[in-house]
């Protein structure tokens, strides 16, 4: 375990100094909000945010990713044969990820890396990634991370955690990976006990600021078809416009589509984020669609996160309480209310 402190100005310089050893993703202010971007090209990290607009899930599962390539040029010996493309799995770090978004990687791991199948790109990217968390001193009013397995200073899924102590950051390693990362940083000094104590007291204060609570205790015991047939779905889904915003913002939404794209005689097989909110997601070739109604799609999204995932993996729910969907749903559908409805309290 390593505890180091960095003056705020030094922290940016220390990250900058890592550029040759790691690809460093940091929060960058873009207009009114923050998103994770690769450090470089004059980009400056900016840690003055509650949370980034999008979680950094795209660092591990890019919104569009080239899977394979092929040539349709008949004169080529390997025409029509789908082949792997070179990919960069060199070490990288996501610095400034909130504990909720780090928990999301932990929750979706079972989908991409299970005894039966491993998604090679997701797994290798996770292996090469160090997650340096950023504790929340001031959680949002829509945050409910403490109800779903982490907290504003939560450590689950993280390799290191940084805490804002006003004029400086305390950064503590949590795994050997985090320790390796921290050891490579310049400008840091050993943190003394007083600073560590201060961080602890901030953690307590931050937890008290989380006012949203959701119940999850009865989800596992519920009979799936009783929840499926519950009358409340009509009301929950009534205002939904199937825009898919919730799924794109959600750090635990992982669904993707696979498409072929060809330019002249060269083509790629690409995977793109997809969403259960769209009718095409489940449309059969025959025209039949098992989820052709809005209610069915809204129900699928919540049932997947709060029931199917819980049942399948004895885990979860597959929600980290980041509150993004609550904040950005254009018709104010609130997952916290759905927790109450499904859990039955």
């Amino acid at each position: 375990m390593m505890n180091k402190t960095f003056k705020k100005d030094d922290w940016a310089k220390a990250l900058e100094g890592l550029k040759d050893k790691f690809k460093v993703y940091v929060p960058v202010k873009e207009g009114d909000f923050h998103n994770f971007r690769l450090l470089g090209n004059g980009r400056k990290p900016n840690f003055e945010f509650q949370n980034t607009r999008l979680s950094p899930k795209s660092v591990i599962l890019p919104q569009s990713e080239r899977m394979f390539e092929y040539s349709l040029e008949e004169s080529k010996e390997d025409a029509h044969i789908v082949k792997e493309v070179p990919k960069d799995f060199s070490p990288q770090a996501i610095v400034g990820i909130r504990p909720c978004d780090a928990l999301a990687f932990d929750l979706v791991r079972i989908n991409f890396d299970n005894p039966q199948f491993q998604d090679p790109w997701w797994v290798r990217r996770m292996e090469s990634t160090t997650l340096v968390g950023f504790a929340c001193n001031d959680p949002c009013s829509s945050c409910f991370c403490t109800s779903v397995g982490t907290g504003p200073f939560g450590e689950r899924g993280l390799d290191a955690l940084m805490v804002d102590l006003g004029d400086r950051y305390l950064v503590r390693s949590l795994t050997p990976k985090g320790e390796t990362f921290l050891a490579k940083l310049e400008f840091g000094t050993e943190a003394d006990d007083a600073l560590i104590k201060k961080a602890l007291s901030l953690a307590g204060e931050a937890e008290k600021k989380i006012t949203s609570k959701v119940p999850t205790d009865r989800l596992r015991g519920k009979v799936v078809n009783e929840l499926f047939n519950a009358p409340f779905w009509e009301r929950v889904s009534f205002a939904c416009i199937n825009c898919g915003t919730c799924t794109f913002l959600c750090p635990t939404c992982w669904c993707f589509d696979i498409q072929d794209e060809v330019y002249r005689k060269e083509g790629d097989r690409i995977r793109n984020w997809d969403a259960c909110m769209f009718p095409l997601f489940t449309l059969h070739g025959s025209g039949h669609n098992p989820r052709d109604k809005k209610l069915q799609r809204v129900r699928q999204r919540f049932m997947h996160k709060l029931k199917y995932y819980v049942d399948k993996y004895g885990n979860g729910p597959a929600c980290v309480g980041c509150g993004r969907c609550v904040q950005h749903c254009p018709v104010n559908i609130d997952i916290r209310e759905v927790f109450h409805l499904m859990n039955g309290t």
Partner: protein, 296 residues
């Protein structure tokens, strides 16, 4: 520290595992037009790399993704039996972009197959039992695989009576007509072929819908397991017939279809409740389905 916990990706175990999204290259060896409407063709594929055939070891009931560079992939049941060596076959209905393109391809062309995927019919539970196969239309493909598998001299003694009810709209819409005629002649399988209707005066088999013929021909559910594959309407009306005959839901086996992409339970679209049809299915017992949300 770095040597204990390497963070470099290159030296990790993943490089040893075959990419499950990468299709095996195959050559179209033979194309047979199966039905009078020419909408169903059977494609026989040979692996370009002979060692891939061994990697593609499958069990009847499984499916694969047929992969055409530039067009995409489609999940199709495997119609050949693992007892048939040197090739794999798929019968494909012309429906969408990929299948339409495939129907226009020629023998000798190169494409890909990815699999085998999904689970299979419960062969261990079927041992020592009477097997009743009920199929309709073009869903007969994995049933054909199963029949060929069971009739193979190595396997036939593992099963008791094999009874097949197979129906199509008209005689010209039946798949595998040559094999059906051969099986009709055998005494180790009871065939009940039927068509919805026909004005062919030489039609020598049954006329009537599959559920009706099942009710007439299947006499008992004793020590029997039923495998049902067909269009939803056929399944809907066959289910009560089988239950009336005394088949408990645990011994009624169904194979489902769903829109799929990855085929390995990762991309997220083919779920029914907490079950992915591609990975946890496509084969489910009626008992399982009764516990799952009716969303298929």
């Amino acid at each position: 520290m770095e040597s204990i916990h390497p963070i470099r990706g290159e030296n990790k175990i993943m490089s040893d595992i075959r990419n499950p999204y990468l299709p095996y290259p195959v050559r179209i060896d033979k194309i047979v037009t199966e039905t009078e409407d020419k909408n169903l063709k059977t494609f026989r594929f040979v692996f370009l790399n002979p060692e891939d055939e061994g990697r593609f070891a499958y069990t009847p009931g499984q499916f694969a993704e047929l992969s055409i560079a530039g067009k995409g992939e489609i999940p199709i049941g495997i119609a050949s039996s693992p007892t048939e060596k040197g090739f794999v076959t798929f019968t494909v209905n012309k429906v969408g972009q990929v299948t339409t393109y495939l129907h226009n391809m020629k023998e000798g062309e190169v494409m890909g197959i990815r699999g085998p995927l999904g689970n299979w019919y419960p062969w261990e539970k079927m041992e020592g039992k009477n097997v009743v196969i009920v199929g309709g239309g073009f869903a007969f493909t994995t049933l054909r695989s199963s029949i060929v598998y069971m009739l193979h001299p190595d396997n036939r003694s593992r099963f008791k009576d094999i009874t097949v009810v197979y129906g199509a709209r008209s005689p010209g819409m039946l798949l595998y007509k040559g094999e059906l005629a051969t099986w009709e002649q055998r005494d180790d399988i009871h065939m009940h072929i039927t068509v919805d209707s026909t004005n062919d005066p030489n039609w020598k088999y049954n006329t009537g819908f599959v559920p009706t013929i099942t009710e007439q021909k299947i006499k008992s559910a004793d020590n029997a397991i039923a495998i049902v594959c067909g269009p939803p309407i056929m399944i809907k009306f066959t289910q009560p017939v089988l239950e009336k005959l005394g088949f408990p839901p645990e011994r009624i086996i169904l194979s489902l279809e769903m829109r799929m992409k990855c085929g390995i339970g990762i991309c997220g679209r083919c779920n029914i409740g907490d079950q992915y049809v591609c990975k946890d299915g496509p084969v489910f017992s009626l008992a399982q389905l009764k516990q799952m949300p009716p969303e298929y």
